[in-house]
Point group: C2
Chain length 282, copies 2
């Protein structure tokens, strides 16, 4: 699992790094970004880590450039790993009409069973298995102290992956997550395409469904802007609030007046998310 360094920039006393590697799970070359705070030099202690999953049309770079998370990772001595949002490159299928919500940039963090997606679109296994193994092998990262977070489609990814792997991820948070792909147009299109028409197979990738059957309760923090244009039709935070209430699953779900779906929203609250994960992973 050789890594090729693409860029390195000093940031808040640490290093913002970007790498390319060949993914065997996705069967293509992938990029990821990792922030290593200055505390990385204080060996032998390994660092706790937050995995970040981005939303539709994003790559591993948006969060790095716009969220302003490095200052908080520096403060708390935490690494942040940012993944790409789909497989990439020549031979990787894309939506026939180039839609932004299917195919490239829109992997939805599932392992596709359907054609033409099944050969490369296995973002669930990439995030759960291959990427953490690579990170743990190549960096002084303690995957026993790992949290996961994300935005929109990536919030859906973070919540579903954490709920299905509550011993691997010790804390989970999300900004404006797609709470129930079973109940919105984005989710129905993607899961029908990647997983096929049998909706019972979708439930393993639906946060609302997973909450109702959760045996382990992780620390959960969800932030949602009330001025988010996607709230009513795609995100449906109210379904998550209701599911958590019914399942007696304690979650911090906060609604913020005036905030929209942008990185300006994420930047405004990412400090509280990093502190939340740092507390859970300490």
């Amino acid at each position: 699992m050789a890594l090729e360094n693409i860029s390195a920039n000093r940031s808040f006393g640490g290093q913002q790094l970007r790498y390319r590697h060949q993914s065997s799970v996705l069967n293509c070359a992938m990029t990821f970004s990792i922030y290593l705070p200055a505390q990385v030099d204080n060996l032998p202690n390994k660092l706790p880590v937050l995995y970040w999953l981005s939303g539709l049309t994003c790559s591993d770079e948006n969060f790095v450039q716009k969220a302003g998370a490095q200052q908080y990772a520096s403060k708390h001595g935490m690494a942040i790993v940012c993944a790409d949002t789909s497989p990439r490159g020549e031979g990787v299928a894309d939506d026939a009409e180039g839609a932004y919500d299917m195919g490239l940039g829109a992997g939805f963090y599932v392992d596709a069973s359907e054609q033409p997606w099944a050969e490369h679109y296995r973002m669930y296994s990439y995030i759960v298995d291959e990427l953490p193994a690579l990170i743990g092998a190549q960096f002084p990262i303690d995957n026993q102290r790992a949290g996961i977070s994300g935005h929109s489609m990536g919030g859906h990814g973070a919540l579903t992956i954490a709920l299905r792997n509550p011993t691997q991820f010790k804390s989970v948070s999300a900004f404006a997550p797609i709470c129930s792909p079973l109940n919105c147009a984005w989710g129905e299109k993607a899961l029908d395409g990647y997983l096929g028409e049998n909706r019972t197979t979708w439930e393993a990738h639906d946060t609302v469904s997973l909450v109702s059957r959760a045996n382990t309760h992780l620390p959960v923090l969800v932030d949602q802007g009330e001025a988010d244009n996607f709230l009513a039709e795609q995100l449906k935070t109210e379904l998550l609030i209701e599911a958590a209430r019914r399942a007696d699953y304690p979650m911090q779900i906060r609604l913020h007046p005036g905030y929209d779906h942008s990185y300006f929203f994420i930047a405004s609250f990412i400090g509280e998310h990093i502190a939340f994960h740092a507390a859970a992973l300490s």
Copy 2:
């Protein structure tokens, strides 16, 4: 001076706004961005303001998206106005070969006297006169409490403009400024193009020259990364350090090991710059 709002995003309790307006000085439509912290609602107090000038190839958006300044502006109750880096639009001259360091995105904050630039390239007058007048007329901004800052070409702009207008701007800071256009390839190309070959006219736009004849001493903060690829050939911080020493002009000029020319550098120290201006403008 009608303003057209282009975007509005809540950020750290305030508003990140973007506008378009017709500039009479530049003879074209221009955009600018302004961050108004929540304190703007506490009338009748007007807000202190920091004017930000960006570098080559940038617009008014780079700083807004990447610097993470809003949290500090929110904390200190300061507005931040980000200007574009050149005139724009149909009929505005650009470099014949599309070079990144001349023409569009590269106004160098001078009033051009030469062809084909003179009709539109008057960024000095735009930043000193037209933009502050517009801001003061349209927003609850106190231009009597104004600082100015910038990056690279914009650091050159901030320093030269403040040194020439030390009653209008009460504090000045810069990240990786071009310290002496008279003594670097970027500066020689731009000033020769915009101002003509008589180098004595360039001195009014050369920080090192202006420092040597300054009668008023402003609070000055300059940050420079030692791993900046442009330091030796284009920025030449050592000329500014030497000029300030000779002129007995007290300046904070800080060299930071490992930091480069990117916004990761700016983001790491913008909090200290905002605090510096807030203290000077309080």
